[in-house]
Amino acid sequence: MMLASLLIPLLPLPLGGDTKPGPTPNLLAIRVGKAETIAKGTIEHAVILVENGKIVTIGEDLPIERGIPVLDRPSWVVMPGLVNAYSRIGLDSEGGDDSAAEVKASAELYAQAKDFQEIVKYGVTTLGLYPAGNGVPGQACAVRPLGKTKEEMLLADACYLKIIARASPSAKKLIQDGFKKADEYAEKEKKAREKFDKDKKGKKEDKKEEKKEEPKPAPGAAQEPAAAEDPKPEEKKDDGFVPPEPEPKAKPWVDLRAGRLRGLVSINSAAEFLHYVDAIGKETFSWDVRLVVQRESDVFYVLDKKTYDLDFDGIGDKKCRVVMEPVLSVTPGTMRNRNLAMELAKAGAKIVFIPRNDTLMDAKAWLANVGEIVGANLDRSIALRAVTLEPAELLGVEKRVGSLEKGKDANLIFFSGDPLEPTSKLEAVMLDGRFVHGEVKL
């Protein structure tokens, strides 16, 4: 009895259960057969050093200092934790029909939701949660699925503004109305600016520096017409001017224009894309596409301008991201398969894959489904990027997650073989340097 009690603390790791692994040492070296780094290709015989939840270094056959605990799995393949940028896992409320661009999905976040604990077991270590609803339902947030509080979970907020594009006057008006609000704000800001300049001028005149100040208002006046169109240069001028706070309803649209927020435009068909492009007109802001892949999708018509001699830029020409399910579609009216993801990638779009359905079941089959698309000739590196770094970039958290690089969060998932092979098993999941799933014995 005495012996046993003495031995237990000496063990580096207590015997982990099937799903609940024990504590992971703060400093850990991992040696695996292969690492899909995403950012810098594949590394054979990779060694990753993890400390305090971050990747300290990664490389081929790096020497490991004596004393550092080592996880040695020469048959395993490691890749960054999966990033699902477009999900409502763990959220449940229904949205309204109204345009509510100011709504944030983070407000719905409940840290104790069971689904978060479950989704991690399938290798998903970052989630982009979007608000429910029609029209312009609001802004998405990026979360790590495990955390005791909402704040602990939240990686980033206001990641993208979801816009549902439809071929209807009301849907198009919703977008135009949004930018009208931004117009109103720009007008307001311009007036505030004028007042500010006037006050400033007045003050300086008081100081009796009239002669020197004379040329100054001139460039200011010259810049004003430009400033009215684009609020950006004004902010850069560090002269103490604080632009007025936009109204909550107007803020997302002002942010879109200023480049502080991205749009994610949901479309089902080519026509909806065309009508969206028509609705935004000459408005320039950065946006990506959420393509709901239907069986007889006709989106191949709007891949690029050239093929069908379109009078507008296609999805590929815009070089935007396309958030889509890893499914094959067919040419309408036929049984001929089409790999839209591959066609989009060829046209210049960046692919972001999400599970086929927003359920735990499909999260489990996610990589296998992506594998099918790779089997249908999508480039493998694009496919792997489409579940890691590309969605991370969409969420604006690419500096923390999405690839295996020095300084990034140690979100690692380990497979018994090629991650895209359905026969490969997900052996372990590490989130922020801690094993959260899988039986791992050092």
Partner: protein, 478 residues
């Protein structure tokens, strides 16, 4: 050296100062802005060169009666620029070689549903220019369709400038089943006509006497007034002889040209309808039994379109059902539009009138004849290239062109590509020399005698062109 450099620097600085102060005066700024704008627009014009489209080696049926053999059609920016022989092909033109094919104006369907996708009246915000029904409509040869109360073009892949005309018709009801409705409509016409007379009178007199009061518009139906002024077209949906007669009389009395949809028993009162200047929208295969309780003529007739036409009624033909329908009774949907015109021919309608019934006449009824319906210089370049006589049941539309842009190519769409696939190269000219296929076209068109003179010359050219082609092909073969 150093001092020199300093001098230069100071010079530059002073120049820069001058430069900065110039825009300070508002006047100078505005001027500069104006210039910039001008420059921009000039640049834009330069950026967008004229878009040329040419159909060559075609037998062009202009839809106005003329048929040009081995002719060319040149379109500039979507409008027909020239039609004729030996025209100059602009260097950047997109050329469609229609060797051995016939070119017709794009068909105008008076009404259809589904070709534009699930639309409401906001066409620019709802049309789906990618939907498969539109492809099938274009495969039928339809380039303009009535939809709701508007005429809309089938512009594939685009939602720009779709609508040719809106608010075309004022729809009235005239039915024996609703006598009070008839009475009240007539009263509306009476009061509107009275007002119009007074108004015209006042218009004349007010030039002399400026204080004269304008007649009161009270109790005048604005829609009816618009019809009498010729601003809109009165449309009736009527089939019974009595109703048709009533409409004809109403039109004759008040002096407007009614459009009558249905018009099944029109053949029984065709002379009256003709006298009223009526325009009829008929379906040649409409079937309706005669009411045996009545002694007079009645029921449907295959000769309806022909008799109406002979009596001076402008006849447009529509298909039995308005949508693309691949089930039910085959061959009655919108894709059978030319077939429906064939049935009118079967009833005795001359071929040129049958072609007009789905092109020029239907365009006239929709009030868009200034833009579509026939191939004339200045009109929209909406045309179809057909491998046979358009009204032949075996004919296939090979290409459809809307606004000078090919929007349908039979071989590129999956629907009919496999049926009698088009040979990649145009018909071989050598065969023509041997006289194998030469008699055929002549036998096909015995009617077009007046063109004989021009034809000979053209024929020679054709051979010349053909030889050239043959040479090209040989090269390819080698």
């Amino acid at each position: 050296m150093i001092s020199k450099r300093n001098n230069i620097e100071s010079l530059v600085a002073s120049f820069a100062l001058v430069f900065v102060t110039i825009p300070a005066t508002a006047f100078a700024w505005q001027d500069a802005g104006g210039d910039e704008k001008k420059d921009e627009s000039a640049e834009k014009k330069k950026e967008e060169p004229d878009k040329w489209f040419v159909v060559k080696n075609a037998e062009i049926h202009t839809g106005t009666g003329a048929v040009l053999r081995d002719a060319m059609l040149v379109a500039k920016n979507g409008k027909i620029d020239d039609i004729g022989h030996d025209l100059e092909i602009p260097p950047d033109a997109k050329v469609l070689d229609a060797q051995g094919m016939r070119v017709y104006p794009g068909l105008v369907a008076i009404s259809s549903s589904g070709l534009l996708g699930p639309t409401t009246s906001d066409f620019g915000d709802t049309v789906n220019p990618f939907n498969s029904n539109m492809i099938l409509g274009l495969a039928t040869g339809i380039t303009t369709t009535g939809s709701g109360n508007a005429a809309v073009k089938l512009k594939r892949f685009s939602i720009k400038d779709l609508v040719v005309r809106e608010k075309i018709f004022a729809v009235f009801s005239w039915s024996a089943r609703n006598p009070s409705g008839k009475r009240s409509l007539r009263e509306k016409f009476v009061s509107a006509a009275a007002y119009l007379r007074e108004f015209r009178d006042w218009e004349d007199k007010v030039k002399k006497d400026k204080e004269l009061k304008e007649p009161q518009k009270k109790n005048v139906d604005t829609t009816v007034l618009a019809v009498l002024k010729g601003e809109t077209t009165a449309k009736f949906n009527a089939n019974d002889r009595d109703d048709l007669l009533g409409i004809a009389h109403l039109a004759q009395e008040f002096g407007f040209r009614p459009v009558i949809e249905g018009c099944v028993e029109g053949w029984t009162v065709a002379d009256e309808l003709g006298r009223a200047g009526a325009m009829a929208i008929v379906t040649a295969r409409d079937r309706r039994p005669k009411d045996e309780a009545l002694v007079r003529d009645g029921g449907s007739s295959i000769e309806n379109a022909a008799i109406l036409h002979r009596s001076g009624v402008a006849v447009a033909v529509v298909s039995g059902t308005e949508s693309v329908d691949l089930g039910g009774i085959v061959g009655r949907d919108i894709m059978a539009l030319p077939i429906e015109a064939d049935f009118a021919i079967r009833g005795g309608l001359p071929e040129d009138a049958a072609l007009a019934s789905i092109t020029t006449t239907s365009a006239r009824i929709l009030g868009v004849q200034h833009r579509v319906g026939s191939l004339e210089v200045g009109k929209d370049c909406d045309l179809i290239v057909v491998d046979k006589d358009l009204l032949h049941y075996e004919a296939f539309v090979q290409w459809t062109v809307v606004d000078g842009k090919i929007v349908y190519d039979k071989q590129k769409e999956l629907y009919f590509a496999h049926i009698r696939p088009r040979p990649d190269a145009p018909a071989e000219p050598k065969k023509l020399d041997k006289g194998e296929t030469e008699p055929k076209p002549d036998a096909d068109k015995p009617k077009e005698g007046p063109e004989e003179g021009g034809k000979k010359g053209d024929g020679e050219k054709k051979n010349g062109d053909g030889e050239k082609k043959g040479g090209d092909e040989e090269k390819k073969g080698g």
